[in-house]
Symmetry: C2
Subunit: 381 residues, 2 copies
């Protein structure tokens, strides 16, 4: 086993504090792209709300939690670049996309333009909705080619452009801010899958719709997601106002699920409050740094090759170049080294991926020693 | 204020134990049709799983919880009258119906036959799916007329019969067992909205699809629901098998939401285990008795009239016959007497209801003293 490259930076106090907000992990959690580790305060907020439900009744409890949930709604809307009334709590990113496909003014046969790296289950949703999927041109690293996009928006504008802002399987971030400017100028709506972006990079970049679960980089509870819709679209959505809902609600609010994991919404509101306390810009910068460090350390690992590279993402995909069975490696890391990773199958990005990758996604508290431990565990195989 | 009729039965030990499984309520919870009070064990199971997620990673935790969730799946399937592979966990009854409308072999313009008492939001879902809604004939209490149903299934069979087994706004239970026999003989599928039925009455009665949330009479967590599909339909569902899902899964399992409130599923599995321990048949009988007692006590209340009557349901709807504003009464009961009820608006059953009702829905632990307290609070207005 070769010695890993070493990085001796001590963990900054801010990230030490972030780690201390959480209970100790059973091992090394290198799987935040699957789900982040919720803080003790988030777990307590969820549990406290569930206990309140049992004590005073679920709907009375929901009334009592309205200020906390409302603050979370405002904070999330702001992070996603829409007014507060443009945010709906739903169950997941999957549920959010289903809502979007139902309510957006689209016809079967309309074209939706995507990058080859786009999220597979979203592509399945587009096809099921009867949309024609068209690929955008890319530059070598997998980012969309902005010059080509600008031309495309004039010559053959799609009904919608959809970008998965941060890829789930490797280090790749799409230039959403620039794409939003171009799409706006062309009058073509831009939808952003921010599943891996929310809490990880800036997501208030002018897209017309943005959706994400709360459980990944924000480390909220599972079972809560958010859909944000820009104000220009509120009156153009196809809404059947449910008769049980308050008629005075803003349109996007009517998309919110009524029978819901409300305790989870309280938890996500708590997670967002803590995230704002830590400092979003600092988190984004730190996650970029963690990704760079990860790729620097793992870049020298025999038998593996880093997929992609220079993006400001804490997600790293490793290609097995010595015939390894990636799910078996993931299982071995977990069972023998207590290191949590994901075997990222090609269905995640079927227009780009050709093989299963080992995905490593540490959070802000990743130390040099953690990366050394991962290196050693992978080298020892 | 007139003296309420008194019932002096002491609470049976079984129901005392049921009450003791829960922490003390802040007041009088007469709102189980909205959501039941989860037991301490259910709350702990949910909270423990969320803590496990934060410690070992959410997807590792889900693997570890598979036996508990699997036992819950089997128990729920059995309660709903389908094989274990016929059950899918979803987020809510609303989500379950959306899945059903998406996957069932139906064409726009097909007819769905319903009772006038059917759940309003379901009717909205049928219309949005392009189905024609046709009313079934009823007998005076609001139950469907089985002779007329039998004739209808021969002369003008609908594509689907949909029954809301236990009405949400008043004492009314549809004869699902008999309807299932008739529908099966005619080859017409029967769907059952068991939102108020699961855990309240027998729901293993031979319907082709049954769906419900777990939060009401089973007192599971909010944000978890179940969809059960009879085996004859498994291979006839319109499924696009998501590429991220294990191809070997049974068809109905593929309808299950992947990004989910898994801690809630653990909680529902725990609630069902406790329910089976208490004894389903005993619970059903007790809830029927509680409903009868409620209607007996409240039947004499000046200014109110019991809507409907003789059904084996613990849900009672009260009509205001002295010009009361029902939402204001509900608010006053809560604020001044700590009694939790619901103001049931007409959108719940728009083909039957003509006015907002005060809904009272106690659980098995309802004592004679509780009913007296409710009577006194209502009389004192």
């Amino acid at each position: 086993m070769s010695a890993p490259p070493r990085s001796d930076d001590a963990l900054d106090q801010r990230w030490q504090a972030w780690a201390e907000q959480r209970g100790p992990a059973a091992g090394l959690h290198m799987d935040n792209a699957a789900a982040g580790r919720s803080s003790a305060e988030v777990l307590a907020a969820v549990s406290d709300h569930a206990q309140l439900e049992a004590r005073v009744g679920s709907y009375v409890a929901e009334e009592l939690a309205a200020p906390v949930i409302g603050a979370g709604r405002a904070a999330l809307a702001s992070l996603m670049g829409v007014p507060t009334d443009g945010l709906a709590f739903v169950e997941s990113a999957t549920a959010a996309l289903a809502v979007l496909l139902r309510c957006w003014p689209l016809r079967a046969g309309d074209t939706i333009a995507v990058a080859p790296s786009d999220w597979g289950p979203a592509l399945e949703g587009f096809a099921a909705r009867g949309l024609r999927i068209s690929e955008l041109a890319i530059v070598p690293d997998g980012q969309i080619d902005l010059d080509q996009l600008e031309r495309r928006l004039t010559t053959a504008p799609p009904a919608v452009v959809h970008l998965t802002q941060v890829a789930s399987h490797r280090s790749l971030v799409q230039p959403v801010a620039q794409a939003a400017t171009l799409c706006r100028a062309a009058g073509v709506p831009l939808w952003v899958d921010a599943a891996q972006a929310l809490g990880h990079v800036d997501t208030a970049l002018g897209a017309d719709a943005v959706y994400a679960p709360g459980r990944k980089w924000l480390a909220g509870p599972r079972g809560v997601g958010v859909l944000a819709v820009g104000e220009a679209w509120w009156r153009r959505l196809n809404l059947t106002v449910p008769a049980m809902m308050p008629a005075e609600w803003p349109p996007v609010r009517l998309l919110e699920s009524h029978d819901a994991h409300v305790a989870g919404r309280v938890g996500l509101a708590t997670a967002v409050r803590q995230y704002l306390g830590t400092g979003p810009a600092q988190v984004w910068q730190r996650l970029q740094q963690v990704g760079q460090e990860t790729r620097k350390v793992l870049g020298g690992l025999p038998g593996w090759q880093v997929a992609g590279g220079g993006a400001p993402s804490a997600i790293t995909g490793l290609r097995p170049v010595a015939g390894q069975d990636v799910p078996a490696v993931r299982r071995r890391l977990l069972d023998e080294h207590a290191i949590v990773t994901t075997a990222a199958v090609t269905a995640r990005a079927p227009r780009e991926m050709t093989e299963t990758l080992l995905r490593v996604s540490p959070h802000v508290d990743c130390s040099a020693a953690d990366l050394d431990r991962l290196y050693a565990a992978l080298a020892d195989g």
